[in-house]
Symmetry: C2
Subunit: 198 residues, 2 copies
Amino acid sequence: MSRAEQKEKTRRAIINAAFQQLSADKSFASLSLREVAREAGIAPTSFYRHFSDMDELGLTLVDEAGLMLRQLMRQARQRIVHNRSVIQTSVETFMEFIMQHSNVFRLLLRERSGTSAAFRSAVAREIQHFCAELADYLRKENKSTAEMALIQAEAMVILVFHAGADALDASDEVRQRITTKTIQQLRWLAGGSKPPAV
Amino acid sequence: MSRAEQKEKTRRAIINAAFQQLSADKSFASLSLREVAREAGIAPTSFYRHFSDMDELGLTLVDEAGLMLRQLMRQARQRIVHNRSVIQTSVETFMEFIMQHSNVFRLLLRERSGTSAAFRSAVAREIQHFCAELADYLRKENKSTAEMALIQAEAMVILVFHAGADALDASDEVRQRITTKTIQQLRWLAGGSKPPAV
DNA sequence: ACATTGGGCGTACATTTGTAAGCTGAAAAT
DNA sequence: ATTTTCAGCTTACAAATGTACGCCCAATGT
């Protein structure tokens, strides 16, 4: 195995170890360099060969999470075309998605209002991007102004994200109720700029 | 000074020390028993005379935050009577409030999706209470069903809280923009159940 | 063929943490 | 007046953490 390959492999091992350890009871802040190194199967000091400190690793994780969000957006769009209600399809896709990538999602949720300014702005950037894409869609669909579409999109994203946070630790049944509730909330928002086609 | 008085006094000192240390860069989880004790002006081990561990202190803080929320709700209601738009008055009151009690608010925001299950449910309970009161108000005002009123109230609270989080670290000017944006979002939500009186 | 590079390791150290054990002195109870 | 209680202190220790330093050796460069 080439040296570059090997290095990339350990780097992935570190990143995966970090994601692995993120859970309902463990935030990134409560992760220690040594713990991550242990899980990745390397010596603590080897960590520095890849990241200068935990913060740098954290920002990398946020970047990865951003990629996931874009992937989610694409997936939702694909399903929309040949299906029923846009809102329902989107929320359901979102819920499926976060269940599959719960740790990624948890990271975004927590660091959005976390203790590191660098993290907060990194997460804010990813979510902004997400909102902007949604706003663009809404603007075309509803022929509203760009400003209004963005405000609307932001509200929608906040509600869906929050619903996701609740859904993460809930039973299937409760999650279904949360989904229904969220759909209702989004419809009110959508109805504000356009007569509702309930 | 009586013994009971003295004890209560140091207990307050501990609680205040904890709130004091909470800031944009310091979450409750990153607070150490020793730090709090230091700030409170007592020896580390004296802490145990008042709380069995940091978690117990944390739950006390959440309770205090709950009191604040109820106080906020009363304050908003008082202002509503003799003023202009209900939504505008409420959001503005909320914004004033969180600026005055930013650390209390930050605690609620963070522990809502924090790492301790006990904290999460404690915060959830306080926010539920807040939502229920608002829902009651909405139900009477709009003659909607109790269920719909609650779903609506929850959406509103989420949006306002989130706006508060953003506003905390923003400049006065940005905060004003956030306020306007939030008012717009709430109007869409309110309009869903009743024709809007913009 | 030889020299350089760099990822990974082991050792080491200063800090910080939670908390156990036991003492002290003043308030409260007898 | 004597005893009991108990908030607060000092001392002590084990565990965990971040990270500096230097060695090793296989992949790479010459």
